[in-house]
């Protein structure tokens, strides 16, 4: 019996040493550029398979007023820097305009009142942060598809880019502003709206006033706040650092359906 224990002890010590070797190697694993293809393959698989199961464009589950969570944590920018936004805010966005341009036949410049005159959709949905928390809120806004139809996309338009008023990092070339992008599959979904109302009131500043994107089949960072310009483009590599969004430029997944 004692022989067994000592042998077991020896093996345990050996495997502990092997384990620590394995663990110290894990960073080399996660940082190795040679393994990037594994992660890219995973992203591609998620995009392709989720697009397949969503090909009928089903709506996400909508909840009732009773389901709205008592609070809704604002994430990212809660108050954009700079006097420009402050001025817009104190004038209740009277001078704010939304531009719709890029690969469109009829570029638009719209005031908040003009947007509120458009067909509206109200939906109570879950907001899922990629960090793991969930809140439920009610959103009122104009379907993105309505704006895009009014502006009339040209046939070569493939992505819709949302330029925002909040500057995340001060960069000399002014490329530190938040931005996001969708392809036409998500842009045309009925629940993809530009919201100006939240929980029955005007959209609060902390949640992106006067206008924010709701793209309900994606996690939180796709839901651009403080949207000021919607640009239709054929490719994303000429905008920002070329990955399709502020967080995407910093390593996050462009496709954020999971």
């Amino acid at each position: 019996m004692s022989r067994l224990i000592s042998r077991r002890g020896l093996i345990a010590a050996g495997s502990a040493a092997a384990g620590s070797l394995l663990l110290s190697g894990c960073d080399q694993v996660s940082d190795a550029p040679g393994l990037r293809w594994v992660l890219d393959f995973g992203q591609l698989a998620s995009l392709r398979v989720q697009r397949l199961i969503l090909s009928g464009q089903p709506l996400v589950r909508e909840f009732t007023v009773d389901d709205i969570s008592p609070e809704f944590p604002p994430n990212g920018t809660e108050m954009p820097n700079g006097f420009g936004y402050f001025e817009l805010m104190i004038s209740q966005f009277a001078n704010w305009r939304l531009k719709v341009d890029g690969l469109v036949r009829h570029p638009l410049t719209l005031s908040l009142d003009e947007i509120k005159q458009m067909p509206a959709r109200t939906q109570i949905t879950q907001h899922n942060c990629d960090e793991g928390w969930t809140a439920i809120g009610q959103w009122t806004g104009v379907p993105l598809s309505h704006l895009l139809q009014a502006a009339e996309l040209t046939p070569d338009a493939r992505f819709i880019v949302f330029h925002c008023l909040d500057e995340m990092v001060r960069l000399p070339d002014r490329r530190g502003f938040y931005y996001e992008s969708l392809d036409l599959f998500d842009a045309s979904h009925p629940q993809t709206i530009l919201a100006y109302g939240m929980n029955g009131k005007a959209l609060p500043v902390a949640h992106g006033a006067p206008l924010r994107l709701r793209v309900e089949r994606h996690v939180g960072y796709k839901h651009a706040k403080y949207v000021t310009r919607i640009e239709a483009v054929d490719r994303l590599d000429r905008i920002g650092r070329g990955k399709g969004g502020f967080w995407e430029d910093r390593g996050y997944q462009w496709y954020a359906g999971l």
């Binding site: 393959f41 089903p58 589950r61 996050y252």
Partner: protein, 289 residues
């Protein structure tokens, strides 16, 4: 016939008359076993890396900082000494877990506030983007690997032959005896080691057909794109945050399974066990040697 694989006559006779070598694990079982081991390890570590960004678990449809949590890990300062303290709260109970959970130490012994220590997460430095990338890539590998294993298990007969308890194993006396053997840390020997023991079969069935499918489905319930296509997942788990909590609890059960599994491998002979899972060959020792 495939049926003869596990219980076949000695494939290669050893010189010693009280040793017999059987072919225990087919190449598909061995390959999927090790891919599975790799996936589960990296899924656990990247999962904890994700959980570090919001180390609190809730029940129901919503949950965020401020909502009462079922379990949470927090980093705080001792009001008297000012020292960092890690606290783990589970269903109303609080435990000081400084050193592992809440507060852990970096390579220079400086206290760092984080729920799970860097040696348990992938990547070890905080990166939600990379942790998510690894988690989802390994989930796809796990699913592909699991699909191969399931197809093989059904069509080759592995499930029927090796995992389904035999009639004699299902007798209450046999099950009680097997429980007693496990409690005394006595692995089956001789002829009894030819097949999986009954608790082992129950455990493998539970892991393969209950725990791993629940992991997969609760993980999918956290994807807003998947729940758009399959909203019934919300009803199955009682909400997205419940699914997240269940995902974590079942991950704990899988860790417990792996720990017990490794202990059993050591108890029943680590060299023989490892060899059988690498080469397929397993030595049966005749009882009463």
């Amino acid at each position: 016939m495939a049926v003869s694989e596990q219980t076949s006559a000695p494939e290669a006779q050893d010189a010693s008359p009280n040793r017999e070598i059987i072919y225990r694990h087919t190449v598909v079982v061995r390959a999927t076993h090790w891919i599975n081991a790799l996936c589960l390890t990296l899924l656990l570590m990247s999962g904890l890396g994700i959980l570090n960004y919001h180390p609190a678990l809730y029940w129901g449809n919503y949950g965020y900082q401020g909502v009462p949590s079922f379990m949470s890990v927090v980093s705080m300062r001792d009001p008297e000494s000012g020292e960092p303290v890690g606290v783990t709260r589970i269903a109303g109970w609080s435990f000081v877990t400084t050193g592992v959970l809440g507060v852990s130490y970096d390579s220079e012994q400086r206290a760092v506030g984080r729920a799970f220590p860097s040696w348990l997460t992938l990547p070890s430095v905080p990166s939600l983007a990379l942790a998510r990338d690894w988690h989802f890539a390994m989930a796809w590998l796990l699913v592909a690997n699991g699909a191969i294993y399931l197809l093989f298990g059904v069509f080759n007969g592995h499930f029927r032959r090796d995992l389904t308890p035999a009639a004699d194993q299902l007798r209450p006396r046999h099950i009680l005896a097997d429980i007693w053997d496990h409690l005394r840390l006595r692995p089956p020997r001789g002829e009894a080691a030819r097949r999986y023991n009954v608790l082992q079969k129950f455990t493998y069935i539970a892991v393969v057909f209950v725990l791993l499918p629940v992991m997969l489905l609760s993980g999918l319930t956290m994807s807003p794109a998947v729940t758009a296509a399959v909203p019934v997942l919300f009803d199955l788990f009682g909400g997205r945050q419940s699914a997240r909590t269940i995902h974590f609890l079942v991950a704990n059960l899988l860790v417990l399974f792996v720990l017990v599994h490794i202990v059993e491998v050591f108890l029943s002979g680590v060299v023989n066990g490892m060899r059988s899972m690498i080469t397929g060959r397993y030595v049966i020792r005749k009882v009463g040697r």
